[in-house]
Symmetry: C2
Subunit: 379 residues, 2 copies
C-alpha cells in the first residue's frame, strides 16, 4: 500500500494533472511501477468544471498504462471514501491484487458563486438547492436545531474551527494554514446564521491517491503498509427535511456500526479519526454519531479540548480536516486515508498522533445522504 | 433478477423520475419490493444537465428506501455496462444478495449543440474535444481509415443503419421507429464525411434498470432469471491518436477475451449480441473485435445480411441498437442487459431471436477508451 497527495488549495494544474501527480506519488510510495496497477477507481464530482469527465482512461493514459481499466465514482463530497470502499471490495473479493484509488477535484477557477451553484446540485435539488437552500444554509438549519436543543453555543462551534486550524498549521499540504481565535470566528462575516465564514471549509482543488493491495501482494512486495479492518456504508434521506432528527446523521451511524462490527472494535479503541467537518457543526454531530461522545455532549468535549492533538482519548482531524486542510470534494475521502496511512506509519511529523495504532476515516456526501466509514490498523 | 426500462427518446420526465420509473419496473419484474434492494449502482454521466448529481440517495429516497446506500458510476457512454459489472462483482463476492443497477440520462432538453459539447468532455479533451474533434469527427476519422484499408463502402455502413432501424421498428421502446433505405442514409446530410446524419445514433433521454441477485437468492424467490457467465473489462489509449491502429478498439478485444474465457465460450456460441453502435462504423468494428468476423470482413457480412434478425449465426442489435433504440448514454449499457433478459426469457415479441440461449452485451465509452463485455445464459 502507498499514498500520495498534492497540496490542497487554489491550484493551477488541470484536473488530469492533479490526479496524475497524486497517483505517481502513491505508486512511488508503494515502491511499485505504474505497470503494477491493475485497475483504477477515480473519485470525482465536477470534472466537467475543467472540461473533462471519463477521467479513468485519460489518467491511465497519462500514467503510461492506457490498457488498465478504471471508472469514476461519484457520491458528492463522499465520493472519495465510497470509491475507496469499492476499491477495497474489489481487492477483498480477489478480483485484483493491486489497484489505484485516486480522488481529484478542480473547481476554484470557476469562482465562489459558480462553485456554490455546482455544489448545490449534490443536494436533493428539487427540495433544497433549487429552492435556494445551498449547503451553508442547510448546515445552518442543522446548527440552529443543535444549538437550540443542546447546551452548545456559537463559541463551541468556533472552537472546532480553532482546533482544526491548529492542526492544519502542522500540515504542509493544508489549504488554510492560519492560526485563528474564537473571536476571529465569531467576528467573521455571517454566511448563514449561526454559521460564520470561519465555520465553513474552503473550496479547494487537489488530489489524493492510495494503492490498495491484497495482503499477500503487500507482503511479497515488502513495502510499508497498513491494514483495512472495517468498512461500512450508510445512507440517509436525501433531503434534510425527510429526516426525523436533523441533529444526527443516520448514514454515519449505519456506516460506523458496520465498520466497528467488522473490525470488532468500539469507539474507545480509535486513536484518531479524520471526520467530515465541511462546517463546524458537522464535526460536532460526527463526534456523537461515531460514538466518541454521548448525544449532546460534543460541545463540552470541544470546549475542554478533548479532541485536540494528543490531548484526549481521540484526536479528531489531525490533518486539519476539511476546515483547514481543505475540501477538494472528490479527493477528500481518499485524502483522509492518506493522512491515516502517514499517521499509522509514524510519518506525520509535527502533527503525529502518539502511539497511533487504530485510525478511522469518516466522509459523507451532501448533508450526509451518503456516507462511508473505514477503520485501519498499524501492521 | 428483473429488468425494466422507460421508453427511450425525447422525454419530459426529470432525470430522477426516469431512473425511479425504470427501477420500479425492474423491482416489479423481479417480483420483489423496494425494501429487498440492498445497494444501488447508478450509471449516469450528465445528471448536472438536469441539476442533479449525487443521484443514489435521491433515487433511493424516491423509491421509499432512503436508508439503502448507493453510488454513481461514470465512464462516459460505457457507464452502464461498467456499473453493471461493479454490481455483478459485489454480488459475486458475496457482499450483497440483491442489488439495483439503474442507468439514466437526460440531455435532449439542452439541445443538440449543448449536448454535443457536453459529450465532447468524454473524449481526451486536451487533444480531441478541445480542438474541435467531437465524436462525429473522431468516428469519421476511424471510418475513413476503415474504408481506405478494407473492401468496404459508405453503402456498407448505411446497411448497418438500415438493419438496426428494421429491428428498432419491432421494439416499442425504441427512440427512432422508422424504416430507412441505403439511399436515405447516403442522401442524408453529411455530418463528418464519410458519416452522414443517418449513420449517427440520436441523443436520447431514458432509463433502464436491472436487479442482480445471488443465485441462491434468485432460486429462493422463484422469479425468472438469467445467468451472468462472463464479464470482462478493457481500456484503450484515451485519445484515438494514441492508438496504433484506429480500425480496431483494444478495450473491446481485451474485455471480450476475458468474458469468453470466464464463460468458456467462443464467438460461435453467441446467439445474439447487443453491441455499441453509436455510429455505423462502430458496429462494423465491434463485429470484428468481438470475434464474429475476421478483420476486414464485417462489411461483407453486413452486405449479405448475416447479422439481421434470425438471418445468420449471430443477430446483432435485435433491440435496434443505439442507432434506432436510442442512446441515453448512462442508460445504454444497462438497457442492453434489459434486452438480453427479455430475449433469453423469450419475451422479446416480434424481435425475438429464435432459440436464444446465449446473449452478449458490449458497451464502450467515448471512442472505446473504456469497455465492458458481458455474456449471459438462459437458465
Amino acid at each position: 500500500m502507498g499514498a500520495g497527495s498534492t497540496k490542497y488549495g487554489k491550484l493551477k494544474e488541470s484536473v488530469v494533472e492533479l490526479a496524475v501527480n497524486a497517483a505517481r506519488d502513491a505508486i512511488k510510495s508503494a515502491k511499485l511501477e505504474p505497470k503494477d496497477v491493475q485497475y483504477g477507481f477515480i473519485s470525482n464530482v465536477f470534472g466537467i468544471a475543467d472540461n473533462q469527465v471519463h477521467l479513468a482512461p485519460v489518467i491511465m493514459s497519462n500514467l503510461g498504462i492506457p490498457h488498465v481499466p478504471g471508472l469514476t465514482i461519484e457520491s458528492a463530497c463522499g465520493s472519495g471514501s465510497i470509491a475507496f470502499r469499492e476499491a477495497y471490495a474489489n481487492v477483498a473479493a480477489g478480483f485484483y491484487d493491486a489497484v489505484l484509488a485516486v480522488g481529484v477535484e478542480k473547481v476554484t477557477h470557476t469562482g465562489t458563486g459558480r462553485s456554490t451553484t455546482l455544489f448545490s446540485y449534490c443536494s436533493d435539488f428539487l427540495y433544497e438547492g433549487g429552492s435556494g437552500a445551498s449547503f451553508p444554509g442547510l448546515f445552518a438549519s442543522i446548527a440552529r436545531a443543535y444549538l437550540t436543543r443542546y447546551k452548545a453555543t456559537e463559541e463551541d462551534l468556533a472552537m472546532v474551527a480553532v482546533k482544526n486550524h491548529e492542526h492544519g498549521i502542522l500540515n504542509p499540504k493544508a489549504h488554510v494554514q492560519k492560526r485563528i481565535t474564537v473571536d476571529d470566528v465569531i467576528k467573521s462575516p455571517v454566511v448563514a446564521s449561526p454559521l460564520k465564514f470561519l465555520d465553513c471549509c474552503p473550496f479547494s482543488d487537489g488530489a489524493s491517491a492510495v494503492i490498495l493491495c491484497s495482503e499477500e501482494f503487500a507482503k511479497k512486495r515488502a513495502a510499508d503498509y497498513i491494514e483495512v479492518i472495517g468498512s461500512g456504508r450508510g445512507a440517509s434521506p436525501a433531503a434534510v427535511q425527510g429526516r426525523e432528527d436533523p441533529t444526527t446523521i443516520p448514514s454515519t451511524r449505519a456506516a460506523a456500526q458496520q465498520a466497528y462490527k467488522q473490525a470488532n472494535l468500539t469507539p474507545k479503541d480509535i486513536d484518531f479519526a479524520e471526520v467530515h467537518d465541511c462546517f463546524t457543526i458537522a464535526e460536532m454531530i460526527d463526534m456523537e454519531d461515531l460514538g466518541f461522545f454521548e448525544k449532546g455532549m460534543a460541545a463540552m468535549a470541544v470546549r475542554e479540548g478533548l479532541t485536540r492533538l494528543n490531548q484526549g482519548e481521540v484526536t479528531i482531524n489531525p490533518s486539519g480536516g476539511l476546515k483547514s486542510k481543505g475540501h477538494p470534494i472528490g479527493a477528500t475521502g481518499i485524502g483522509q486515508v492518506v493522512e491515516t496511512y502517514e499517521q499509522l506509519l509514524g510519518r506525520a511529523g509535527q502533527r503525529q498522533v502518539k502511539d497511533a495504532e487504530i485510525g478511522m476515516t469518516h466522509n459523507f456526501g451532501a448533508t450526509g445522504a451518503s456516507c462511508a466509514v473505514h477503520i485501519f490498523r498499524r501492521v
